[in-house]
């Protein structure tokens, strides 16, 4: 058994478990005490294939699952339990974690032992949309902010936690339509135009409080500007998104 995934939306009556080379979809609706397996999917191929990670997509009425095994990322349709896409060699080495963009239905982030974080559009699995190479060791976890999906957390065994601002592939557009209209009305504000210049994709900050490998990072479900990270030495570090960036995003 590798992991258990709750249905991200809906009434939470379904659970997926990933074990070795099988993904099992459990239905909890039948009875309050007993779960029944409603369908299974099996990973088939040469050698002993094992799921290393998985994520339930919150989009498409919760009918999609993404899993990772070795260097490949696979997408599954839960209604038929069949593979819908496969990114071979998504990473140079093992893929460690996956996360779906909560606001853009085809966007998927992955991280792995090649120290990279990659962003995929699952409609085009040939090339990643973006690649981040900030870490100097395996990246263990990648998480989208639930409300502002340009904010991405990555945790790595180089004992760093990195908060990146991926503006170019976020669901929030650069400028607002309103601004354009305002600009067309008043011509005397070229400076303001400069201010509205789209933000570049950038690393917001690198948190080096951990002394050992950081294995998990997670956003707070209550406060979108709060996040926590956990490292091997048992240290849990809670941080906030820098105020300047917060205002920049909000205003």
């Amino acid at each position: 058994m590798y992991s258990v995934l709750w249905e991200p939306m809906g009434d939470g009556k379904r659970v997926i478990s990933l074990a070795d080379n099988q993904a099992l979809l459990w239905d909890l609706q039948e009875s309050p005490t007993k779960a029944t397996v409603s369908s299974t999917a099996t990973l088939e191929g040469k050698g002993q294939l094992k799921f290393t990670s998985g994520k339930w997509s919150p989009h498409h009425n919760c009918s999609q699952l993404a899993t990772a095994n070795d260097t490949a990322i696979r997408g599954w349709d839960l209604r038929t339990m069949s593979q819908i896409y496969c990114v071979e060699n998504a990473h140079g080495q093992l893929v460690r974690d996956l996360d779906f963009n909560p606001n853009r239905q085809y966007y998927l982030a992955s991280c792995g032992d090649d120290c990279k974080v990659k962003f995929w559009d699952v409609r085009n699995v040939q090339e990643p949309v973006k690649t981040l190479e900030e870490h100097s060791h395996w990246v263990w976890s990648v998480r989208y902010n639930q409300s502002h999906d340009q904010l991405v957390l990555t945790a790595s065994s180089d004992s760093r936690l990195i908060l990146s601002n991926m503006v170019s592939i976020s669901s929030e557009p650069f400028g607002h339509m309103v601004d354009d209209e305002e600009l067309s009305e008043g011509e005397d504000n070229p400076q303001e135009e400069k201010v509205k210049e789209p933000l570049k994709d950038s690393v917001v900050s690198t948190y080096e409080e951990h002394e050992d490998s950081v294995y998990a990072a997670e956003w707070s479900s209550a406060d979108p500007w709060l996040f926590a990270s956990l490292s091997y030495d048992g240290r849990l570090v809670i941080n906030r998104v820098p105020r300047a960036l917060k205002y920049r995003i909000l205003l």
């Binding site: 060699n89 990473h91 140079g92 080495q93 090649d114 120290c115 100097s136 060791h137 395996w138 065994s157 180089d158 004992s159 080096e208 002394e211 050992d212 490998s213 091997y232 030495d233 048992g234």
Partner: protein, 844 residues
């Protein structure tokens, strides 16, 4: 020198002699005169300019005994003040001696001059006598001349009358002859017409025309004029017919035109006719040329089936020089030769005759008033431009077919000839754009050639890389690398280089040497374009832009950039798709790029600059930028090498950790084979890197590091940790310990950049491997013996790996971490006795 001294001495002498006078009379007048005399004396002694200058330079010091400003009083005072008695005495004797020698010199001089004076007096006396005799003879001569003049005047007086009569008679005779000519003119013209001596007829007519015109009011002359007109009309008809038929040679043709012009034919029409005639002949030449180009593609198309094998010279690789150039018919030199001989020379002929006929002739004759030269010139330009454009397009097509880069001299010679021949056109037609267009074609061909060379260089580079790859893949090298791990690194390396030609340093030197040679040979070929005996080499383009932009930038610089880029591509393409590039190649390329940075680039560029005398009018890529680029490439390659090798080892470690059941393992008896393998691999990598890179700096360590640090590592810390872990306070304790340790140790960047030396590379690789080991261990659960096995393994690694890295503490720290993490993940953490571990490791 002697004279100079003497002169100075003389001046001193006279100064000294006049000393008393100066004191007594003391007038400035007196001293001035004395100086004048003195100057004359110097002149007499043949004092040269230098002497004067030197005298001037020393003139201001009054104490200088030889200077003109010498003041005896001051001098004496100075001597008296500065010198002791003995010195004064010495000075005195010395001076007396000098005075005496000057005296004797003076006497000698006077004596010599006296002798010369005597002989001069003799000579003058002799001359006086001779002159007397000469005077007598001159008197005699003048008397004779007067007599001759008288006679001559007499004779001319007598002959005057006869001369006037003769002049008159001859004038009458001329007039009569002219009249006779006029009367005979029609008959003569007819005869000329019969004999087809058109030129003569026209010249007769021209001579008579004015006279006839002038006297046409006289009936007899009128008749002659009419007759002549009739005949000349016929003549003109005849000529026009001949001109129109055209079949005659160029010379005939031009003669025709000349005559017609003299007969007041409309020049414009004649120009057109002449040019169209010439055009048809030139176009025939051009078609001949075109036919030489055309057969190739059509032939291939037609008999493609037949010559499918023979028709492949297009893809003949540029390296093979034995294959003929793509065009089977003629080589380019022959083609250009033919073009020059046929087309250009006849074009020149046409231009020359045309100019002679319509322009230079017309300028002198009466036609100049009608703007004919301008009109004719215009027509000529249009004509020449049109035909030249056709010719150029043919030549360019032909040049474009010249793909093979084997023999550049042929092309250069052809272009040279092409260009040289066009100079003839420019001489004839200075304002024409044709030579410039020709130069442009040459320039285009040259740049095209440079591009081809770049492509050839690039493909050569890729080919040699493939060769290197094959050489690396050959089993010998791997065997050599394997043996290297057994013996010492030097032993293995030495054996490799001796019997196998494929050892890394040799491959590297072969590769770089062959690249350098290729560049040199390409430069030499390109250099032909700027050779002194090539006419177009002194064009400003070939002097400036071609050298700097063409050769330096687009050939050499681009090639270097290409090398860097292609090297970098090895990192990128191989990085994600499972590394098809052999690591040794990465290492080799990295060293190659580094060598490029340190020496090769500047050498190549200096060579280029020297060979081509590049004057940097336009900004060129400086050496530093290329060097940085090469360095970056080298760095990237080396980093990639570290990554790949680290990955290989860590893959092994990971498999070994992941595939084992660590909870239910048996008590360790041996070091696991995979650890031995890791050490072996590290050793062979060490050998491999050592072949190409220097050792690098290590942090100092004791002579017996493995033992000493081992004892510290195991006996002082580990037992405390594991023994303590039984007690509740233990986790805190270990955490504290490790945290304190971490506080004082620097953060380790695992995949960081490495330096260009062996130790740094090895450190990088080992860091990656051990970190992987650590992370894998943390993902597993261990039983008692599992922990002990890890302990044994780590100790084994400890024993062998420290020697590869720059800072052995790094290895200790990581291994500590591994064992520590393992203990954390252990269900029953009871460590093995240190002595037992040592025994097992010593044995294994």
């Amino acid at each position: 020198m002697g004279t100079h001294w003497l002169c100075c001495g003389g001046s001193f002498w006279s100064e000294l002699a006049m000393d008393a006078d100066t004191d007594s009379s003391g007038g400035p007048d007196e001293s001035g005169r004395r100086r004048k005399v003195h100057g004359m004396l110097k002149l007499y002694y043949g004092l040269d300019e230098e002497g004067k200058i030197s005298e001037k330079s020393q003139s201001l010091d009054p104490c200088d005994i030889n200077g003109p400003h010498f003041d005896p009083e001051l001098y004496l005072n100075k001597l008296r003040r500065e010198c002791s008695l003995a010195e004064l005495m010495d000075q005195e004797t010395c001076m007396v001696k000098q005075i005496r020698s000057l005296d004797s010199d003076m006497q000698t001089l006077v004596y010599e001059n006296y002798n010369k004076f005597i002989s001069a007096t003799d000579t003058i006396r002799k001359m006086k006598n001779d002159f007397k005799k000469m005077e007598d003879e001159m008197d005699c001569l003048s008397a004779n001349m007067a007599a001759i003049t008288d006679f001559s005047a007499n004779i001319s007086g007598t002959l005057q009358d006869q001369h006037a009569q003769i002049t008159k008679l001859s004038a009458v005779h001329t007039l009569l002859r002219k009249l006779q000519f006029l009367f005979e003119l029609p008959a003569r013209l007819n005869k000329c017409l019969e004999l087809k001596a058109y030129a003569q007829a026209v010249s007769f007519h021209r001579r008579a025309r004015c006279v006839l015109q002038q006297y046409s009011h006289l009936p007899s002359f009128k008749g002659i004029q009419d007759d002549c007109h009739a005949i000349m009309d016929m003549l003109a008809q005849e000529l026009r017919q001949r001109f129109r038929d055209g079949g005659t040679s160029a010379k005939d043709l031009s003669e025709c035109v000349e005559l017609l012009l003299q007969l007041d034919e409309p020049a414009e029409e004649l120009c057109d006719k002449f040019l169209s005639h010439a055009r048809s002949r030139l176009e025939a030449d051009l078609q001949g040329l075109e036919a030489e180009i055309r057969p190739y593609p059509t032939a291939v198309k037609d008999d493609s089936a037949r010559r499918s094998s023979a028709g492949s010279p297009t893809d003949s690789s540029p390296k093979t020089s034995s294959l003929p150039s793509p065009t089977p018919n003629t080589d380019i030199l022959e083609f250009i030769d033919r073009g020059c001989n046929e087309f250009v020379s006849s074009l020149c002929l046409v231009i020359a005759s045309y100019q002679e006929l319509f322009i230079s002739h017309a300028q002198t004759g009466e036609l100049a008033s009608k703007n004919i030269p301008q009109m004719a010139n215009r027509k000529l330009h249009v004509f020449v431009d049109d035909l030249a454009a056709q010719y150029f397009s043919l030549v360019e097509r032909r040049i474009q077919e010249e793909k093979g880069v084997s023999d550049n001299s042929l092309l250069v010679r052809a272009l040279d000839r092409f260009h040289r021949r066009l100079q003839a056109v420019s001489k004839l037609l200075p304002s024409s754009t044709v030579p410039n267009q020709g130069t442009e074609i040459v320039i285009r061909a040259a740049t095209e050639r440079v591009k081809q060379y770049l492509a050839a260089l690039q493909s050569f580079y890729m080919d040699s890389l493939t060769d290197v790859r094959q050489a690396l893949a050959a089993p010998r090298l791997s065997v050599a690398g394997g043996t290297g791990s057994g013996g010492g690194p030097h032993l293995g390396g030495g054996a490799t280089s001796r019997d196998a030609p494929n050892s890394l340093p040799e491959l590297l030197s072969i590769l770089s040497a062959s690249i350098l040679n290729q560049i040199k040979s390409v430069l030499a070929s390109v250099h032909l374009f700027t050779a002194k005996d090539i006419t177009f080499s002194n064009k400003p383009y070939f002097k400036g832009e071609f050298c700097s932009q063409g050769v330096r930038e687009s050939l050499v610089v681009n090639f270097i950039k290409f090398v860097c880029q292609s090297s970098r591509q090895f990192c990128e393409s191989a990085g994600d798709k499972g590394g098809s590039t052999p690591p040794a190649l990465l290492l080799l390329l990295s060293r190659l790029c580094l060598d490029f940075e340190t020496s090769t680039i500047s050498y190549i560029l200096t060579l280029t600059d020297e060979q081509f005398l590049v004057q940097h009018h336009s900004p060129v890529t400086p050496v530093t930028i290329l060097c940085t680029e090469a360095r970056e490439a080298a760095q990237k390659l080396l980093n990639h090498y570290v990554k790949v090798q680290g990955l290989n080892i860590s893959q092994m470690l990971r498999k070994s950790v992941e595939t084992r059941d660590w909870v239910n393992t048996i008590e360790p008896r041996n070091v696991r084979a995979v650890m031995k393998r890791v050490v072996e691999d590290a050793t062979s990598i060490d050998v491999q890197v050592g072949l190409l890179y220097e050792e690098g700096v290590r942090k100092p360590h004791s002579s017996d590091s493995s033992k000493r640090t081992f004892s510290v590592y195991s006996s002082s810390r580990q037992p405390v940790r594991y023994a303590a872990s039984y007690t509740p306070s233990a986790p805190m304790d270990t955490n504290l310990l490790s945290n304190i340790h971490k506080l004082f140790s620097e953060r380790i960047d695992i995949f960081s950049s490495v330096e260009f030396n062996k130790v740094s590379v090895m450190t990088g690789i080992i860091k990656i491997s051990l970190k992987t080991f650590l992370e894998c261990v943390r993902l597993r659960t261990f039983g008692r013996y599992g922990l002990q096995q890890i302990q044994v393994d780590c100790h084994y690694l400890q024993m062998y790996l420290w020697r590869f890295v720059s800072d052995e503490n790094l290895v200790h720290f990581l291994l500590d971490e591994i064992v520590g993490s393992c203990a954390h993940r252990c269900l029953d953490p009871s460590p093995m006795e240190q002595s037992v571990i040592e025994v097992i490791c010593e044995r294994g």
